[in-house]
Subunit: 360 residues, 2 copies
Amino acid sequence: MRVEDFLLSPEELCQRRGPNDDIVLSSRVRLARNLDSAPFPGWAKRKAKIEIMERILPEIESLSLFDDGFIESMDALKSQEKQLLVERHLISREHAARGAGSAVVINKEESLCVMVNEEDHLRMQAIRPGFQITEAWEAINGLDDELEERLPYAFSGEFGYLTACPTNVGTAIRVSAMLHLPGLVLAEQVNQVVNSVNKLGLAVRGFYGEGTDTLGHVFQISNQMTLGESEPEIVQRLSKVLSQIIGNEQNAREKLLDDRPETVWNHIGRAYGTLSNAYSISSKETMNLLSLLRLGVELGYFEDLSIHKIDELFIVTQPNHLQQAADGKLASNARDLLRADILRERLASVGRPKPDKNSA
Amino acid sequence: MRVEDFLLSPEELCQRRGPNDDIVLSSRVRLARNLDSAPFPGWAKRKAKIEIMERILPEIESLSLFDDGFIESMDALKSQEKQLLVERHLISREHAARGAGSAVVINKEESLCVMVNEEDHLRMQAIRPGFQITEAWEAINGLDDELEERLPYAFSGEFGYLTACPTNVGTAIRVSAMLHLPGLVLAEQVNQVVNSVNKLGLAVRGFYGEGTDTLGHVFQISNQMTLGESEPEIVQRLSKVLSQIIGNEQNAREKLLDDRPETVWNHIGRAYGTLSNAYSISSKETMNLLSLLRLGVELGYFEDLSIHKIDELFIVTQPNHLQQAADGKLASNARDLLRADILRERLASVGRPKPDKNSA
């Protein structure tokens, strides 16, 4: 099956809502696991990788969790299909570069996925909309239990789960959330929050994970340490910090609207003006401006615009989703034109924002 | 009479059109003159300056050219009134700083004005809309002839008219035009044109004359030399160069629309989007964006917008015109809010630009 035919439409995907999803866009938990007595993917020869993959895939396929799911070897996917999966956060950029001996498995709901022979033999991930760290943890824990019954995991009594990279050893868990923090950005308090979060041993990154700039007032927060704490402790600690950041963002928005509402109106108005009138726009600018538009919707400034319509725009304006829509290879410049066409078209019926001046 | 009560409304002012005014916003000619056997204003004591002024003003007042005109000593004007005159290009910034002993005279149509005791005893200027350098020259020449009959000018057979600053000596003429060159700016050819013009001994400056940045794709071009050429020669040389620049700008616009119309649409669309949705905007950004909007009108992209409506916005969004509208002293931040309010309000009924995609 082609990736395009399997994936939920952006519209379907964005209908899903979760708690606090005005601030927490999504919650994710991933676990890294390796088979006992088998070389890590980075050290394994092609043949060994294929053997490992062929041992793992049938076990995953046998699980009812993946009924009607997507299962494919990475060498069977076109580059563009892989990039679509990256943009959906279903595989990593690194995994997209892999071929024979690596595979990807995704469940029907796109809420569970497994990368086979990425950096580790198994990288499994659960995603949930909104603030659902605990729910995501429970889902991935259930999958992990099922696989552990079927596959011999590399485990040390001293260190815990063994991983290719020592930074993951132990629980091998990464708990993360995607946060939408325009209030803290506009109030110029976001660096303060990022610093505090860093001091608590948590990492803050841009939209696509490590090595990317922070984009569009969207931040990813995750645990750094995988040793010395149990999985539930890590999940609980991140939940606490997230609750605090949600509070910070809510306060920042309220205070901004009290103290200098024009700043908020100005950013949202300009974002709307540019998105609905540009004829060329980059991916990065789009994300920044959509983020401000989302804030406008949350504040009730738009009559004809919903959060999920904006979340859909976040998805469809990404480079590889545009490629897919254009059914071919577009140069970056042509993508910027097409992106602007889509935005103008989808926003054509949306009236200008109407901030409630009286509430200020 | 208060300056506000005398000045034409921005609306009246912008109804006036002239040849090629899609590119040449206005044409101006000014002459500097001094009285024989009287100290230049910079050297004159207060008493001497007042004597000079009292000798000059009745002669100007006696001319029918200034019937129903405005005549006032600079110390009788409030700072805000002076700034309004600066924004209308009727007096210089330097003259606005002067008080007792200096004066300003403006004719009813705001097409002729005289500064008394600016840098020279007399600085007289004629302004015309569009490309009317020759007409402006004829107007100022007529005024000069009338005054020369009434006042003894400082004149040297060797040097010509004597002036306070040696750079003006000789003809003491400055011929200038305000040019709107968005095509050359967007095509990134404007520096080339500026360099060529400089090589011809002409100066290119920003909107408010010397020492200001170039703003909003609006450039002022003027002669540098006042010695060695007669006035008609200077006027003719500038006219030739202007005709060439008009051609360059027209070519740049056509070529842009042929080669990369999206660049033009993108700039005009974004300008419209920002101007009609911002809640805070600086004077400089406004001028830049209005300039692009003007190009959009010239290209027929707007159904409900006229050139003179935009030219009016250029005037009313200037800092001191805003002060006047607000009837009081506004901080810079408050002006940015008021400016955005005015722009949103005046553009509320203007529909999105509709570039003619077929013509591309």
